[in-house]
């Protein structure tokens, strides 16, 4: 584990958190997933326990509803803290859901998270963009440059 404290964590005022409880009581995940509590996440950050959080499963279960960010009276956003921790965790190659790697790969290589799908109507008919009369899907004009730029960004050490 790197000793370097990621610069984004310096922007978080976790120490000013009063532990009031507005964020977990607004959160759809806290009531459903054991161990996920944005207030406790901030408490851990304030106590310098980011490493523990980055190794935890629950870091990946925030649904980005943004109620915590909206309502926090101290303008601390547990959501943004979670994102910051996720970025560090992925950068350090700590365990994380595969879905992130898959969508990153897809977007970097093709410009979109997935290729246009074949979908079904309620009558089980198959349809695609063409049969729906929709124009073909778009992607970056200079795909090579797009891929190269994104890869370059992802390889730089900044998050």
């Amino acid at each position: 584990m790197t000793q370097r404290k990621p610069k984004m964590m310096d922007k978080v005022n976790a120490e000013t958190c009063d532990q009031c409880g507005k964020c977990p009581s607004s959160c759809p995940v806290t009531v459903r997933i054991e161990g996920f509590n944005p207030r406790q996440i901030i408490a851990k950050v304030a106590l310098g326990k980011e490493a523990e959080l980055m190794k935890s499963q629950v870091l990946w279960t925030c649904t980005s509803c943004l109620k915590c960010k909206e309502r926090c009276p101290e303008e601390i956003s547990p959501y943004d803290v979670i994102l910051a921790l996720r970025r560090i965790a992925i950068n350090l190659e700590l365990p994380h859901p595969e879905g992130y790697d898959e969508s990153v790969k897809a977007v970097v290589e093709t410009g979109v998270v997935q290729q246009p799908q074949l979908v079904r109507t309620r009558n089980k008919e198959r349809k695609d963009r063409k049969s729906m009369g929709l124009p073909p899907a778009e992607k970056p004009r200079d795909m090579t440059m797009y891929t190269k730029t994104l890869r370059g960004i992802l390889e730089e050490d900044e998050l």
Binding site: C20, S25, C27, E74
Partner: protein, 435 residues
């Protein structure tokens, strides 16, 4: 010997006026509304003694009225100040009440017959008064006032019923405003506070959910002189609330919507209000959602302890995330985390009281300019060093007491009022001996 000017007729202004008057100093007490009394006149009981608020206030109000050394200027405001300590020249604008103060007996017949209704600010908007009205039953001075923006005569040239029914012929539509000039040795500012309006805290639904009220609205509801005669019946359907929740720190202790400071007395008034409910109905369920319990004063901790152990008020540490309203029953569901055990829960209640912060009066800005003094970053009056000059502004001879310079409870306001009276007395002595 020059008189002293006291701006604001709440408990602080009243106390300062009485202290000075008893000492032989003449006082001009300026009050913006039709009656002195301030917020204390609207409260049901005071903490921690649970005294009836108006019962302990009214004798002081009457004393002010009767005191040979005090002149009350109600419906008045300070519009100009010049000079320096020992010799201030002040202009007071007396607004017309459209009623002859010398003739009105306060019988209230005019108000009974008046056809126009308006929300009563004394009843915190929960009840109504008429276009011609007496501020409240114990008002001082007990003189009717016409709200010219509501009166049919002033707006449409109609009615004049009050004039017809007044047995003392006291109604005077021609009455004009009056600008008077005073020469005073000191000025004491005691203009008090406003209550934070929580409508911008959208997650609590104030203004949208009928059964979410502010603390001051609650005081009127539970008070015998209130719109429901002291019955805790909720606005949506009049049903008596058997399950009430209080939420602390509404509009305070926040960097976002509201003010960042702690409003000092809300924990105590919430406890008082919770106990009031229990006194009315011991089997009632009462919950207070708090962040910390600020029980800094004498007897405060004991008061809270008794609220829990004797009365069974439930205290939960957790600032609720949101309040939801059932579209049919209009009951409220509070989403909260009990932070002591780390559990997120919901509770359904009949009524929610938002314990709103004491915030600076919106008129402070203008008054500060007139007086030539500073306001702090929130809009409260600024004082000098809190250790050496806690009741003095930057301008010698201009003092502040009570909540106009920050949230204060009644004992503190009274103590500060006496402090400013003492300071003002120094100036009288000085001005007499020619400094």
């Amino acid at each position: 010997m020059k008189p002293v000017l006291v701006i604001g007729g709440g408990i602080a202004g009243i106390q300062a006026s009485l202290d000075l008057a008893d000492r032989g100093t003449k006082v001009h007490l300026i009050e913006k509304t039709p009656s002195i009394g301030g917020v204390m006149a609207q409260l049901d009981k005071t903490f921690p003694t649970m005294d009836c608020s108006i019962c302990i206030l009214a004798p002081k109000m009457i004393e002010c009225y009767r005191h040979p050394n005090i002149t009350i200027h109600s419906e008045s405001e300070v519009v100009n100040l010049e000079g320096a300590v020992g010799d201030f020249r002040v202009k007071i604008l007396e607004h017309p009440r459209s009623v002859d103060a010398k003739k009105c007996t306060g019988c209230g017949l005019c108000s009974e017959k008046c056809p126009v209704k308006r929300p009563s600010s004394f009843q915190a908007g929960l009840g109504q008064r008429k276009a011609i009205y007496l501020a409240f039953p114990q008002a001082v001075p007990l003189i009717a006032t016409i709200d010219r923006d509501a009166c049919l005569w002033f707006t449409k040239g109609l009615c004049r019923t009050c004039e017809k029914v007044c047995p003392s012929k006291a109604v005077d539509y021609e009455q004009k405003e009056n600008l008077i000039e005073l020469n005073v040795s000191s000025v004491i500012t005691a203009t008090g506070f406003e209550q934070y309006n929580p409508k911008d805290i959208g997650e609590y639904g104030y203004g949208r959910y009928k059964n979410v009220l502010t603390a001051l609205e609650f005081e009127r509801l539970v008070c015998a002189s209130g719109p429901t005669g002291g019955v805790l019946s909720r606005p949506s359907d009049g049903k008596v609330s058997h399950n009430t929740a209080f939420i602390q720190c509404v509009g305070s202790r926040t960097q976002t919507v509201g003010y960042s400071y702690c409003s000092a007395f809300c924990c105590m008034y919430a406890t008082k209000e919770a106990v009031l409910i229990k006194e009315h109905e011991p089997s009632s369920h009462v919950t207070i959602f708090y962040m910390d319990l600020k029980t800094f004063g004498k007897g405060f901790q004991g008061f809270v302890d008794r609220a829990q152990s004797h009365w069974g008020v439930q205290y939960i540490r957790g600032r609720p995330g949101e309040i939801r309203e059932d579209p049919v029953t209009k009951n409220l569901t509070i989403l909260y985390e009990n932070t002591e055990i780390g559990k997120v829960e919901r509770i359904e209640v009949d009524m929610v009281i938002l314990c709103t912060a004491a915030v600076p009066h919106r008129e402070n800005k203008e008054l500060a300019q007139v007086l030539g003094v500073e306001l702090d970053e929130y809009g409260f009056f600024e004082v000098g060093d809190p250790v050496s000059s806690p009741v003095e502004t930057g301008k010698p001879g201009v003092y502040v007491c009570g909540s106009c310079h920050g949230p204060r409870d009644i004992p503190e306001s009274v103590a500060e009022a006496s402090a400013t009276a003492a300071k003002a007395s120094e100036n009288i002595v000085l001005s007499e001996v020619g400094q």
